[in-house]
């Protein structure tokens, strides 16, 4: 909602250049123009090119056709963009793609390719309506189950506090996670 502002494409770095002469940075600096990056997503290396300002979510959705993660609040609140990075659930709307290199990124596309039981449990318990929050919830649930096998309802409630649904599918989600936990107990297949 801002009517005037500087364009991001034309950067004035005069001050930085002066300082750079005084104390040359030892670490490489990239951008602001697009730079090639390599991401590890669902066990594969993916090459693409991004401006440093691009979020991982936007890179996945716009450049890699990985559209399971959704852009909803776009401010790290609602969880629709949830992915797993180095084994931990995170909001991909609030990470830079360029800053996500060298980490194992798991998205719902990867989780569903492995037929994780959480997916069938979501279906069986009708833990979805419009389905737009669902991918984020499934990933958050998978990440939660990785750490809390066979959880109770109370643990599920605490464990999924970073995701929001508007249609109101929480009762089904709660049951789905508990059910999937029971299935996973003993024979983890994820």
């Amino acid at each position: 909602m801002r009517g005037v502002g500087l364009s991001g494409g034309v950067l004035s770095t005069g001050l930085l250049e002066q300082e750079a002469q005084a104390a040359p940075p030892a670490a490489p600096v990239s951008g602001p123009a697009a730079v090639p990056i390599t991401l590890r997503i669902n066990g594969k290396s993916v090459n693409t090119s991004v401006e440093p300002r691009e979020t991982l979510l936007d890179t996945m959705r716009n450049s890699l056709d990985l559209t399971a993660a959704k852009r909803v609040c776009d401010r790290g609140t609602c969880g629709a963009c949830t992915i797993i990075v180095s084994g931990k659930v995170m909001y991909s709307c609030t990470m830079l793609a360029i800053d996500s290199q060298g980490k194992e990124i798991e998205t719902l596309e990867g989780i569903s390719a492995k037929n994780h039981p959480i997916i069938a449990a979501f279906v069986a318990n009708d833990a979805q309506q419009c389905g737009y929050c669902t991918p984020g919830f499934v990933v958050a649930s998978k990440g939660f189950l990785d750490k809390h096998p066979n959880p109770t309802y109370e643990e599920v409630k605490k464990g999924l506090g970073g995701n929001l649904c508007r249609c109101g599918t929480y009762m089904g989600i709660r049951q789905a996670v508990v059910d999937a936990g029971k299935q996973l107990k003993g024979g983890r297949n994820a």
Partner: protein, 712 residues
């Protein structure tokens, strides 16, 4: 004429059985592609510039710098010089570019000069809105003044419920491509069959030139019927960019600012009853705003609309804020909250159990027997008699527990809908409708009805919806979809089956009207050995197919669907009286909706509606700032929605009975979204001993009420 009526309850094999939604696996695995997920080749992205002022006149719009920005393919001024902007967030200009970031950078280069005009963005204090208030004429029935004199108890209070937004998780928007006067349109919509026509009107092209497709959409709740300015302008941007597809979805701030709201409702209500609890008089002075267009009167007194003596006054208030759109059961949740709060307060004045008060007055409703049954059922589920105490008397340390009641009514008869059923020689079946599944399970319901009718498993039915080339089916609003599509599908399938019987009858040496389709066979009624498999029967079609239409004619529904749903919800809450934080223990919901095709997804509708009510009762409100004229909480951090731990337990009872079943299919999307706010607000009053007159029941308001103040 064939018999279209639903098979008797006991003979149904699929309809009425709990069935998992068919698109569940695609949604839960992330394979489902929503309009906002589409990335067709050559895709451009559009970003809008919106007004930061709530009321202003546009003086100049300078797009020169933006136009020259590398990567920009087209730019359009939406509100040119002279336009009077009536709310912050009004669309000013739109830019298409090769990436969203470029479009955003270019938008930042547009310079707009405004003449800022005075604004009013709040309606809570009627004394401060000046000439923005427009009173409607007074309505009087009976003699309210005399009746209040006769009353043994009178309760009077000012109640209010604020503006809330739809907050659809997939924002409004579309991918659209316009070449010449032909448009390919992938909107996030509740109206696949009609949204193309809406768009065409603004583009001044024939409606038939717009091809609408949508497999999935991320939530509408009443807010996604029109093509919207951003749809029309994106089409023009596409055209100006050589027909390349343009993607434009609102950002969250804009979504919560201009994409529709539920109007507020404020009411001074005076209500009087006899000693035995019989309500005899009602008087309300209400006001409401849904934005610049004002706000109509909620249906007061709600459900108890046979109160013999009443006087109604209402004032619509126009404010400089984004406009109202239908929001799940328009005006009903507000009316239910206002009415049930007043009745509950009156019961407290009479030292009466509100359950008894509601039961005492069911005669003032249009469905006394239904409400009596539902009140008793809900009371049993929440163990009312065991758990209810008079106001403020259920104490445990600093916690207070309470129960409350809310009520709903709704129409929900099926909309106009056409379906086409095609039976192929290989036995496969297609059902096509220009309908949409907005998350309510429409796809699944259509397959269930077709499968039931044709005696086939659901897996043999291919449902095709989400395309306006299919037969016209109404928008998903007013809880009309399930009645409409189930009836049209039923009729199309019956018609197609008749054609198959006509072919198979002579071969089986049986009159076609003596055949039935059961368990994948066509056989003679009463003589199951005389028949052939579905596959064999279809092979007899040779190279032909059977294609038959079915139509739900809203004036003649032939008993397949009807309107008129009732519901009761009861809430059990605990309130921390030191912090004012309200905790949901339980919400029970009893609803009837005639013949229930899929109890599983029907229950999901009720559960979801209950959760929305928890949000509205405890958290949700749009916060407008009179100084800046803007929405302060157009984000998902301070526009608060309940999370998974905030809802307590919810128990649903669908009134599935032979009597209800006989009525036919009734829509369910809206009725359960009505009573929850009232039930929760009443439960809080019961818990803490005083009325918190304004929802949401945030800590500040709960504590203010406990401290004897009206406002925080």
């Amino acid at each position: 004429m064939p018999d279209y009526s639903w098979p008797p309850m006991e003979k149904r094999r699929i309809v009425g059985k709990r069935t998992s939604r068919l698109d569940g696996p695609d949604k839960a695995s992330g394979k489902a592609k929503y309009p906002s997920d589409l990335n067709p080749p050559g895709l451009l992205h559009a970003v809008m510039l919106t007004s930061p002022h709530a009321h202003a006149r546009v003086k100049t719009v300078d797009i020169a710098a933006a136009k020259k920005f590398p990567g920009v393919t087209a730019i359009r001024v939406i509100s040119g010089p002279g336009t009077e902007v009536q709310w912050a967030g009004t669309e000013i200009a739109i830019v298409a570019a090769t990436s969203e970031a470029i479009a955003r950078d270019a938008v930042a280069l547009i310079k707009v000069d405004y003449e800022v005009l005075p604004h009013v963005v709040r309606e809570d204090d009627l004394g401060k809105v000046g000439n923005r208030a427009k009173a409607a004429g007074e309505q009087v029935t009976g003699d309210p003044d005399a009746a209040f004199k006769e009353a043994d108890a009178i309760s009077e209070n000012l109640y209010s419920i604020p503006v809330i937004t739809h907050c659809c998780l997939e924002p409004h928007g579309q991918v659209i491509a316009m070449k010449g006067d032909k448009v390919d349109y992938w909107p996030s919509t509740q109206a696949v069959s009609t949204v193309g026509g809406d768009l065409a009107k603004y583009l001044e092209i024939p409606a038939s030139n717009v091809h609408v497709q949508m497999d999935y959409m991320g939530g509408g709740f009443g807010g996604k019927f029109p093509a919207d300015r951003w749809g029309v302008e994106s089409a023009q941007l596409s055209k100006e960019s050589g027909g390349r597809p343009v993607k434009m979805f609102l950002d969250r701030e804009t979504e919560l600012t201009i994409a529709g709201v539920r109007p507020s409702a404020f009411a001074n209500i005076k209500i009087g009853a006899k000693k035995d609890g019989t309500i005899i008089a009602w008087q309300s002075q209400s006001w409401a705003s849904g934005g610049f267009g004002g706000g109509g009167m909620p249906p007061l007194p709600y459900v108890f609309n046979k109160i013999p003596n009443y006087r109604l006054n209402h004032t619509a208030v126009s404010i400089n804020a984004g406009s109202a759109r239908a929001w799940r059961a328009p005006n009903n949740p507000q009316a239910s909250f206002l009415t049930c709060s007043a009745i509950d307060d009156l019961a407290a004045k009479l030292n009466m159990d509100p359950l008894d008060m509601f039961l005492k007055n069911v005669g003032l409703t249009i469905r006394p027997d239904t409400y009596r049954l539902q009140l008793n059922k809900a009371a049993e589920m929440i163990e009312w008699k065991k758990n209810w105490r008079p106001r403020g008397q259920n104490k445990d340390g600093y916690m207070r527990r309470g129960l409350g009641i809310g009520i709903s009514t709704w129409g929900g008869a099926g909309h106009a809908s056409k379906a086409r059923t095609t039976i192929h020689p290989d036995g496969s079946v297609e059902v096509e409708l220009g309908s949409q599944d907005i998350g309510s399970g429409t796809r699944t319901v259509i397959s269930m009805v077709a499968a039931e009718t044709l005696g086939l498993p659901i897996s043999m039915i291919k449902v095709k919806i989400g395309d306006n080339l299919y037969p016209v089916s109404g928008p998903s609003g007013g809880s009309t979809t399930v009645g409409g599509v189930s009836s049209s599908t039923r009729k199309a399938a019956v018609n197609a089956l008749q054609k198959l019987y006509d072919i198979v009858g002579p071969i089986l040496n049986a009159p076609p009207d003596r055949l039935e389709a059961v368990d994948g066979k066509i056989r003679m009624i009463g003589n199951p050995d005389k028949g052939m498999s579905w596959q064999q029967a279809c092979q007899k079609l040779g190279v032909n197919t059977i294609t038959e239409m079915g139509e739900n004619d809203t004036k003649r529904t032939e008993g397949l669907n009807t309107g008129g749903a009732s519901g009761i919800q009861m809430a059990d809450v605990s309130v921390d009286i030191e912090t004012g934080v309200v905790k949901m223990n339980k919400l029970v919901a009893v609803h009837d909706c005639g013949l229930v095709i899929n109890p599983k997804t029907a229950e999901s509708q009720v559960l979801g509606a209950c959760i929305m009510s928890v949000c509205s009762a405890l958290m949700e409100e749009r916060v407008m700032d009179q100084q800046t004229g803007r929405v302060l909480n157009a984000d998902m951090e301070f526009y608060k929605l309940a999370g998974i731990a905030d809802i307590g337990d919810i128990v649903v009872h669908m009134d599935i009975t032979p009597d209800n079943d006989k009525r036919g299919v009734i829509g369910l999307g809206e009725p359960p979204a009505v009573p929850g706010v009232a039930a929760i607000a009443n439960a809080v009053a019961n818990a803490i001993g005083v009325r918190v007159p304004s929802v949401p029941l945030i800590p500040s308001r709960v504590l203010a009420a406990l401290n004897g103040r009206r406002n925080a």
